[in-house]
């Protein structure tokens, strides 16, 4: 049932041996700071719960709190250590490649994934950066095809993200021209607007 198509197997451009671009080195620090903030919030909630249980009238509850304390501390310590160390393991295993016709993004430590989005299917692109991202001079680039399942490449340098977005927009426009289109039909429009949208958005400028 298997028919070989017009392109010989070996000449098909492969996506296996590529030079993956790493994410920005500061991204690890950014994720760790984010994790630290979360850890502090959870710790504060835990401490508040403990002091409430101790301050309560019921002596049994106070004793229960004391009995639970070592377990809670151990679990909290484990959680804190893992979320603080995790970025060091996970970030070097992420990476992206921009080719002439598509953009690839790989991610995952145990469950790995490599996803490719061809430029001629991209509807629009988006750059966003949160408070922490901006503090570290980082930005996230999203690429949306129709339907679900685009990229969200987190932890790019702000200037890299902008350059990438411009390149992607150029590629979208180059790929979107189709023979037989009179220029009024839908496909070129998203591409044109994709170029315009992030520029007018505040996120791209503030970083």
């Amino acid at each position: 049932m298997f028919t070989n198509p017009e392109v010989p197997l070996e000449s098909l451009p492969g996506a296996d041996d590529l030079d993956w671009h790493p994410l920005h080195p500061r991204f690890v620090r950014r994720l760790q700071l984010g994790a630290l903030l979360r850890v502090l919030v959870i710790g504060a909630i835990g401490a508040a719960a403990y002091s409430l249980m101790k301050a309560g009238d019921s002596a049994a509850m106070g004793r229960g709190a004391d009995a639970l304390l070592p377990f809670a501390l151990a679990a909290f310590g484990l959680f804190a250590a893992s979320v603080l160390v995790w970025p060091v393991i996970a970030v070097p295993r992420r990476g992206y490649v921009v080719r002439e016709k598509d953009v690839l993004y790989k991610t995952g430590v145990l469950w790995r994934s490599v996803k490719a989005v061809p430029f001629n299917r991209v509807q629009h692109t988006k750059i966003d950066s949160g408070l922490l991202d901006r503090h570290f001079g980082l930005a996230n680039l999203s690429v949306f095809p129709a339907g679900a399942g685009g990229h969200k490449i987190r932890g790019l340098g702000a200037d890299t993200a902008e350059r990438l977005r411009v390149y992607v927009s150029e590629r979208i426009e180059a790929e979107a021209i189709e023979p037989g289109d009179d220029g009024r039909s839908p496909p070129p429009d998203p591409a044109a607007e994709a170029g315009a949208t992030p520029d007018s958005g505040p996120a791209a400028d503030e970083g």
């Binding site: 299917r121 023979p179 037989g180 949208t197």
Partner: protein, 552 residues
């Protein structure tokens, strides 16, 4: 008046007031909870202060008035290449819709519409909300006129990729083909469903199967109904031995008949007179007993074909075919703004295998000739048997977790003590296994997990047998299912993104899962050989990136 009069602002027929009233009521009662809350509040108010009841006719009058006003302010104007729709009483909106933005025209005719010869036209667009492009209660001539205008306006050269061609045809050829397509655009009926088919659709209704299972499990609870009936029957037909059983049987039969009647009526209402026909480059279906719905889908808009059958359809040797267009086209302004709209799915509720294959070749054209929608096709290849292991693990662990809230109290009670005693009898005294101790609970959960493994493995094996894939140079068909079966087929050039994932188990065995995302959803082929998955990914990317044809 001529239906195609250009340039004049017009209102629809006054019967559209009904449509607007319906829409107002619908928008008030977006959710059932809202409806219940409203009626509850009203009931309480009326109970406290009966004069509030006067508000009801006032409210009804207000809704009717709103309908009339909306009708009055709804105007449209058809021009050469576009349609303008102005509407809104307080918040005026003006829609300017160029015809080449229109993805499809769907027509719905309610019972009243049909008596009066009117239709409600919906213009599917890739951008705006659906409700904006609706023309309620216009004459069917106007709908036909609109359809011909929109078709005529489609860029002529694009039209040639609608045809079955793989290779872009030379212009002259394209024009010739286009004109020949025009010639038979009167319509070529491909499929009609008769009364027997409607009965089959009704019987295959999934709710009926579920209800039957439900009745089987909770059959005991019909006793209460039998209890209420018994006096009547006993007084009528005197007492004879086994009357109770008879009554119960009668009640069960009654329930079954009622369920049958409901599903058959449902199928009749929805699919009566189902007709599928080709019109130029589009496929149209029309069905419905009271409200007649018409769906038109252009061939090139179709992203994926899904053929499925459940247990009952399998007995009938029939299938259900759905042709999915791009489900959610993001608004042109950006994905964050609302305005995603659902395109109509072309559905053939019942057809035979050869008919399905015939439709596939029509819809996919010259491409994907080696594909098959039939689950029994010998072309399908199995995925790696390691899939069974992964499924077994997944199902058994999930089941164990779901059972935890029931297992833990059970193990802390007497049952746990018995278990601990039994194990200690085998292994000798162990301090870990006190009554209700964590050791006992852990042991109990572990044993439960062991018990769950064989059925999970059986489910995994059945699902592995159902799983399969089949591809040629143009497209891929993926088969899956457990009780029923489903085949998803698509052409490579319609893909939006491709992803290859590997779980830890897959990494060890050099296997991978291929996810192909289309504009209408996702097709997944699990547990492929890594090389095969990578090759498919590269090949799909090659087909997408070298394709110069529109995907929608």
């Amino acid at each position: 008046m001529s239906p195609s009069e250009s340039g004049a602002w017009r209102r629809t027929s006054p019967f559209a007031i009904l449509f607007f009233i319906g829409r107002t009521i619908k928008s008030f009662t977006r959710s059932l909870i809202q409806l219940i809350a409203t009626f509850g509040a009203l009931a309480v108010l009326i109970e406290r202060n009966p004069q509030v009841a006067l508000a009801i006719p006032v409210g009804i009058a207000a809704i009717v008035a709103a309908g009339v006003l909306q009708y009055w302010f709804f105007r449209f104007r058809i021009e050469e290449d576009r349609i303008h729709i102005h509407q809104g009483v307080v918040r005026r909106t003006a829609l300017d819709l160029p015809f080449d933005r229109v993805q499809g025209i769907n027509v719905e005719r309610s019972l009243i519409d049909r008596i009066l010869g009117l239709v409600t036209v919906s213009l599917d667009t890739a951008g705006s909300a659906t409700a904006e492009g609706q023309l309620p209660s216009v004459t069917s001539e106007l709908a036909d006129d609109l359809r011909t205008r929109i078709r005529a306006h489609r860029p002529a050269k694009v039209a040639d990729d609608i045809g079955a061609g793989d290779v872009p045809a030379a212009p002259a050829d394209g024009v010739a083909r286009e004109s020949s397509a025009r010639a038979d655009s009167a319509g070529q009926v491909l499929l009609e469903l008769g009364a027997g088919d409607i009965v089959r659709i009704g019987l295959a209704n999934r709710n009926l199967v579920v209800a039957a299972a439900f009745l089987g499990i909770f059959g005991q609870s019909v006793d209460f109904a039998a209890d209420t009936l018994r006096p009547i029957l006993e007084s009528a037909g005197d007492a004879f031995a086994g009357a109770g059983v008879l009554v119960q049987a009668l009640v069960v039969t009654g329930f079954v008949l009622l369920g049958l009647a409901i599903v058959l009526l449902g199928a009749l209402l929805r699919y009566h007179g189902f007709t599928l026909w080709r019109e130029g480059t589009a496929y149209r279906t029309r069905a419905g007993l009271l409200t007649q719905r018409e769906v038109v889908v252009e061939t090139r808009k179709i992203q994926q074909l899904t053929l499925s059958h459940n247990l009952i359809l399998r007995l009938f040797r029939r299938h259900r075919l759905r042709a999915l267009p791009a489900a959610l086209l993001p608004n042109q302004g950006g994905a964050d703004t609302p305005g995603l709209q659902l395109a109509e799915v072309l559905e053939v509720p019942l057809l035979q295998g050869p008919e399905a294959e015939d439709l596939r070749t029509r819809l996919f054209g010259r491409e994907g000739g080696a594909l098959s929608l039939l689950p029994r096709s010998p072309g399908f290849r199995r995925v790696s048997p390691h899939y069974i292991r992964a499924l077994t693990l997944r199902i058994s662990v999930t089941t164990a977790f779901v059972a935890l809230p029931f297992l833990i109290p059970l193990l802390q009670s007497n049952a746990g003590t018995h278990l601990a005693d039994a194990v200690q009898g085998l292994l000798g005294e162990t301090p870990l296994l006190g009554a209700g101790s964590p050791g006992t609970v852990a042991l109990g959960v572990f044993l439960w997990w062991l018990v769950v493994i064989p059925p999970a493995a059986l489910i995994g094996w059945v699902r592995w047998r159902r799983q399969g894939y089949l591809h040629d140079g143009d497209g891929l068909a993926s088969r899956s299912g457990f009780v029923g079966r489903k085949v998803d087929a698509f052409l490579f050039r319609k893909a939006q993104s491709v992803e290859v994932t590997q779980s830890p188990l897959q990494s060890r065995k050099d296997l991978a899962t291929l996810h192909v995302r289309l504009a209408c959803g996702q097709v997944v082929v699990p547990y492929l050989d890594l090389g095969e998955a990578s090759w498919l990914r590269d090949h799909i990317l090659y087909r997408v990136e070298s394709s110069r044809r529109r995907w929608h």
